[in-house]
């Protein structure tokens, strides 16, 4: 039984104008479907990464999983006790008026995980575990750099002894050398504590370093889902290929690349059929009218028909 399962989960947002405007200007209600029938499973001990460009719905999926949003349709089943979240901005996610030891202790206190006298020791252990020192507990968040703050966020998340950790762009606000420290720390912690991660990122290179499995999202849908090794070595969906092609080539191998064209369409008026068809070099009539089903982890007519 997977630790977490999403079955055909959708989430709609009502972005209509106020009632009076709608009546006077005869506008219909406008519904934005941010997540569109997403199926996902997360096994214990693995890292599932969701990757995509802004507005693809990856953060909404994270918020659906932790229950910050309720799904409009579909079902989410979680077979664990607790989950915790690590946010992108380590400046906004730590209370500036609290000492670090109180920030880290909060989940322990609220969940009643430890007897009062042992909380202090547990907090010190957690701080050491994420590469800070026990004395850092006495300080306030502003005394730390961005990378150190993200370590505090991780310590706080671990304090709740979660079965699942949701990381929404945990390194996007960090410099690259600090990002390497945090990614390495997350990998080490996973190995040591057999953690399960759902890792949300727009950065394919980061995802390829941490993920066991990867879901590629586009306009609210998962268009390709697969083992990280095969997905990065042999991307199948045209959108995955395009994304991989767009990543700047640090090797400077001068390999030819297909130029990226177009932009993500307005999610209020998603194209009919396959949502990627206006940008897809392989689109045909069927793609323009029929929504591709997920077959063998890829939602693409061209792949299914063997055209690419």
């Amino acid at each position: 039984m997977p630790l977490l399962r999403l079955e055909a989960v959708s989430r709609d947002f009502d972005v209509s104008r106020p009632w009076l405007n709608r009546v006077i200007e005869r506008e219909p209600r406008r519904i934005l479907r941010a997540v569109d029938r997403v199926d996902l499973e997360v096994e214990k001990g693995e890292t599932l990464a969701l990757v995509g460009e802004s507005g693809c719905g990856k953060s909404t999926v994270a918020r659906l999983i932790v229950g910050l949003y309720a799904p409009s349709e579909g079902r989410i089943a979680f077979h664990g006790r607790r989950m915790q979240m690590i946010f992108q901005d380590p400046y906004a996610s730590l209370n500036p008026r609290w000492r670090v030891r109180d920030i880290v202790a909060e989940p322990i206190v609220i969940l009643g995980l430890q007897e009062k006298p042992s909380i202090r020791r547990r907090v010190s252990d957690l701080l050491v575990q994420v590469g800070l020192s026990a004395d850092d507990g006495e300080k306030y968040p502003h005394e730390f750099s961005g990378g150190q703050r993200q370590r505090i966020s991780i310590a706080r998340a671990l304090a709740g002894e979660p079965d699942l950790l949701l990381c929404d762009e945990p390194t996007s606000a960090l410099d690259v050398s600090v990002q390497a420290q945090i990614l390495n720390l997350m990998t080490d912690l996973q190995r040591r504590l057999s953690l399960t991660y759902v890792f949300i990122s727009h950065n394919l290179a980061v995802v390829s370093q941490v993920a066991d499995r990867v879901g590629v999202m586009y306009l609210g849908r998962v268009v390709e889902l697969g083992n990280a090794s095969s997905l990065f070595a042999h991307p199948r969906h045209p959108y995955t290929r395009m994304l991989l092609d767009a990543v700047p080539d640090l090797q400077m191998s001068g390999k030819p690349r297909t130029p990226v064209a177009g932009e993500v369409p307005n999610p209020l008026e998603p194209p009919p059929g396959c949502v990627f068809h206006p940008r897809c070099p392989h689109a045909n009539e069927r793609c323009r009218v029929e929504r591709p089903a997920v077959i063998d982890s890829v939602a693409c007519h061209a792949v299914e028909e063997g055209r690419i």
Partner: protein, 321 residues
């Protein structure tokens, strides 16, 4: 050389003494050349750009060195004259296109105003030129788009408009500060290609400031790596990427995640860049450097020849010294 910067020093006087934000920064950019300036936050890369265009925020000031544009010294020009140089000779592209565009005017009005202010053209000629600029930066339906306001464009298209504005007066130099950082990866690739093409076809010198080594690999001819207010390594982009000479560059290159078909452990530089008020004696990188030795704690290294590049590191000092 279009741009020559020699021994540039920028200071911020503060109550607790003077902070040195840039120290002994020297570089040049040739026509048609893209110089990438890379570094982590606080390394001084944006500060270098601002110092060149004379837009340092007070109390920051240029405390030494000189900046020459097409041979003419511009760092000591009076305010009004520098404003003209900026408009006519230097185009600037910032990270957030919305800060460079006025939300109350159509992009046509903004383009035509820029063009007619700096070039001897009538409004009609200016309009023609605006249309051709929009076409050049790849905006479809350029003629109709002139009447649109900035909010009616997507992020990528807005950045194209800003680039059109930057090249409107045919500047000799474009300074692009994180021009693709706010954009999605597929849009980023398009903007990179555009900047590269403009430098090539127009012979404009481009100073591309970014934290993203991948963007530099794609666009630049040479790259300058900054750390704690100084250039620590400068050289042809291929050499700096494949054979970095400064231990900081080595660590930086290793810490960049690459598309890998399996999980790997990234090279890690422990610690963080020092704050401006706590730059260590000797080489500023010495607390984090795996290869430090006695001299690194005592003397600050200047750029020394290292292969085809230059690196500010005592490892490259001639053996006799």
């Amino acid at each position: 050389m279009i741009l020559e910067v020699q021994d540039l020093r920028v200071e911020f006087p503060s109550r607790r003494g003077t902070l040195v934000a840039l120290d002994a920064v020297s570089f040049g950019i040739k026509p048609g050349e893209v110089l990438g300036v890379v570094g982590e936050s606080g390394a001084g890369k944006s500060m270098t750009g601002l110092a060149v265009i004379g837009l340092l925020e007070r109390p920051g000031r240029i405390a030494g060195g000189e900046v020459r544009l097409e041979g003419r010294r511009i760092d000591n020009l009076p305010h009004e004259e520098m404003r003209k140089v900026r408009g006519r000779k230097i185009g600037v592209v910032f990270q957030d296109p919305l800060t460079s565009l006025n939300p109350l005017y159509t992009i046509g009005q903004q383009l035509v105003e820029t063009i007619t202010t700096h070039l001897p053209l009538t409004r009609n000629q200016g309009r023609e030129r605006a249309i051709s600029l929009l076409k050049e930066v790849g905006i479809p339906g350029a003629e109709a788009r002139l009447h649109h306001y900035p909010h009616q464009f997507s992020g990528g298209m807005r950045q194209r408009v800003v680039i059109a504005l930057a090249i409107a007066a045919e500047p000799a130099l474009i300074i692009a500060d994180e021009p693709t950082t706010a954009l999605d990866v597929s849009i980023q690739a398009q903007i990179i290609a555009l900047l590269k093409r403009l430098a090539q076809t127009r012979g404009t010198a481009v100073m591309l400031i970014t934290h993203d080594m991948g963007v530099i690999a794609e666009t630049s001819h040479r790259v300058a790596v900054m750390y704690a207010g100084r250039i620590v390594e400068v050289g042809p982009v291929r050499d700096v990427i494949h054979a970095p000479r400064h231990p900081y560059t080595v660590g930086l290159m290793g810490s960049i995640p690459r598309i890998a078909s399996r999980k790997t452990r990234l090279v890690q530089i422990d610690g963080a860049m020092p704050r401006l008020n706590a730059i260590p004696r000797g080489c500023a990188f010495n607390p984090r450097c795996p290869k430090r030795f006695e001299r690194c704690f005592a003397d600050r290294p200047d750029l020394l020849p290292a292969g085809t590049s230059e690196a500010a590191c005592w490892l490259h000092a001639p053996a006799a010294a």
